[in-house]
């Protein structure tokens, strides 16, 4: 039994079947990649896992618990974190506050305690500041700690986006194209961070990425989607040589 089980998940938007009876399992502690051509349903799949979409059919189990109909904020509390493809940071807040928001589900302070900044509330803020500083240290964000996120460069914003998800100390981390639009150097940095997260924090990671080199190097297992259908699953080597995958990516003639 893996940490995440996706069973026969289908989702339909009007006449479009975005996901068609997709099933796969993500094992605890692995890097699992979801690849496929544009419009294959990768982000829809992540939306089902993080709860923004409700599958038309099928079930999703996280740590053995059925989460198909649980609201997104409760899934966050269960230990699912996500970094978005299009940066979804809070642009007016500093890097520090964005990361502190990642600590939201782990904190307790309410309106009254926060408003009066009583001893307990203050203690909690400081405690969680330590955790956030660990993430800042981990992702080398020290120099922009107090800068509003909206003013940062694209590459840094992507890193903060990952950092915010990481601040949640998740059991399952969903990374939606963390390297999109980056140059080689930035990609290498990000790949290194992902490996570090995986090795040091033992976090299970689901990765969507278009750079095949990165995907093949990082992943333990890969699932390939095409037009909403799961067409291949296996280790990088198995997927690379799978004729259906080659067909989906390169067209029919090459497959022959």
């Amino acid at each position: 039994m893996g940490i995440l089980n996706v069973q026969n998940v289908s989702i339909r938007f009007g006449g479009v079947l975005a996901l068609d009876a997709v099933s796969f399992e993500v094992k605890e502690g692995e890097i699992f990649s979801l690849i496929g051509p544009n419009g294959a349903g990768k982000t829809s799949m992540l939306n089902c896992i993080s709860g923004l979409y409700k599958p038309t059919e099928g079930d999703i189990f996280f740590k053995g618990e059925r989460i198909t109909h649980i609201k997104p904020h409760k899934r966050a509390a269960l230990g699912i974190a996500r970094a978005f493809q299009n940066i979804e940071l809070f642009p007016h807040l500093s890097v520090l506050d964005n990361l502190m928001l990642g600590r939201h589900v782990r904190m307790k302070t309410g309106v009254l305690a926060g408003g009066f900044y009583w001893g307990k509330a203050q203690k909690e803020e400081v405690e969680h500041r330590y955790k956030v500083e660990e993430v800042i240290d981990f992702l080398e964000l020290e120099h922009v700690r107090n800068v509003p996120v909206g003013t940062l460069s694209y590459g840094l914003q992507k890193r903060v986006e990952v950092g915010r998800a990481l601040a949640m100390e998740p059991d399952l981390l969903l990374l939606d194209e963390p390297m999109a639009g980056m140059n080689n150097e930035e990609k290498e940095d990000m790949a290194r961070y992902i490996i570090d997260i995986h090795e040091e924090k033992k976090t299970t990671i689901i990765l969507i990425e278009h750079d095949m080199g990165v995907v093949m190097d990082l992943s333990n297992h890969i699932a390939v989607l095409d037009f909403g259908k799961l067409i291949a699953y296996g280790t990088p080597k198995e997927v690379q040589t799978n004729p259906r995958v080659i067909e989906a990516y390169l067209g029919e003639e090459h497959a022959v």
Binding site: S50, G51, L52, K71, P72, H73, K74, A76, A77, A81, R82, F84, E88, L89, F90, P91, H92, L93, D97, M100, L101, G102, H104, V105, M107, K108, T109, G110, V111, A113, G114, G115, F116, Y117, A121, Q122, E124, E125, V126, R129, Y130, E133, R164, M168
Partner: protein
């Protein structure tokens, strides 16, 4: 060597997170804040009753404006029902003190609480409605509440309203302008400190997250419905408090005091002052409260020299009000607070403003 008096960060080092997370991190800034508070605490001793009364009105408006800013500026939920919520606060306190014989000191927080509950009730549609649609829903709140107030004669006195008394402690009554100013001052200080603290802790950050990116906020574990309704609750609490203070100050509550134009005036305060800024609400409240007074005295001054002009100039008041808001929207959408920050930043680098 002349040291730049505006550079205060030099030699300030924080050795733990507690210091780094203080609202005012720099000792000299803390002294400046104390000085400003002391100034406002002492000024009624030298000012005339008229000026102190104006200051009281500014302060009460500031409490309400901070309340509205918590909802609109910080959480991104536009509300045009503030006028009515002020009314709920004023009427609650009026009914509790005059009809049920409660003391002001119990009725006052209760007025805040009941307004908060009413606000939260009208905040429920915010789960489904955003932006302008929510604004129209809050407009419904304004209309419904005013309708109830003006028609429920047995409880609210109908269109005639109710007469309130000034609060008392023992045999002392807050009858003089100065004493009521101090009452307002204490409540205002608590409101400011409370909201500053709120927005550096968990709940306040969640409010801002809901405003900036609601989908991301939800995935971060923030329950959108709970926090939107909570924002209505907290915001309406302060608006209710302001309404009760205003009611006991003017000693009358009646429906026309809480019309939609009051709602618009409060929106103007936070627009001119700065959306999403506690001090901005304060500056905006002072600005909008004093503007008619200043315009009035300008008209009086001019009509001495040009007697025929008075009729025309009085009508100009509304025009000037509109023009000022348009000018702010065009030239400084972040309001007075931003202008003040810009001035401070300019002097921080003065005289070498090109270095950074």
């Amino acid at each position: 060597m002349v040291r730049n008096p505006f550079v205060m960060q030099c030699g300030e080092f924080h050795v733990d997170y507690k210091q780094d997370m203080a609202i005012w991190k720099i000792a000299r800034v803390r002294w400046r804040i104390f000085a400003v508070v002391a100034l406002f605490a002492l000024f009624p001793m030298v000012a005339t009753d008229y000026v102190v009364g104006l200051a009281t009105l500014c302060g009460i408006a500031a409490i309400g404006a901070i309340g509205l800013n918590i909802l609109t500026g910080f959480t991104g939920q536009i509300s045009i029902g503030v006028g009515a919520f002020l009314g709920v606060g004023g009427y609650t306190s009026a009914i509790l003190t005059t009809k049920l014989g409660f003391s002001f000191w119990i009725a006052f927080p209760l007025a805040g609480l009941i307004t908060a509950l009413v606000g939260a009730l009208f905040g429920i549609p915010s789960l489904r409605l955003k932006g302008l649609y929510l604004a129209i829903a809050t407009l419904a709140a304004q209309v419904i509440i005013l309708f109830v107030i003006s028609r429920w004669d047995s409880l609210t006195g109908g269109t005639a309203g109710l007469v309130l008394s000034r609060p008392q402690i023992g045999s002392f009554t807050f009858m003089s302008e100065t004493s009521y100013y101090y009452l307002m001052f204490v409540v205002l200080l608590i409101t400011i400190v409370f909201s500053l603290n709120l927005f550096r802790t968990r709940v306040g950050r969640a409010f801002i997250a809901v405003r900036d990116r609601d989908i991301a906020a939800e995935v971060m574990g923030i329950d959108l419905f709970k926090y939107k309704v909570l924002a209505f609750f907290v915001s309406s609490f302060f608006v209710g408090i302001a309404g009760a203070l205003l009611g006991h100050y003017t000693m009358i509550v009646s429906p026309e005091l809480y019309s939609i134009s009051v709602s618009i005036e409060y929106l103007a305060m936070i627009l001119v002052g700065g959306l999403g800024s506690v001090f901005g609400s304060l500056y905006g409240a002072v600005f909008i409260t004093l503007m008619p007074v200043v315009l009035r005295s300008v008209v009086d001054l001019l009509s001495g020299t040009f007697p025929g002009l008075e009729g025309v100039l009085v009508g100009m008041k509304e025009v000037v009000f509109g023009v000022v808001i348009i000018l702010f929207l065009v030239y400084e959408p972040d309001g007075l607070n931003k202008i003040w920050l810009n001035i401070k930043n300019y002097f921080r680098l003065w005289p070498f403003s090109y270095t950074k």
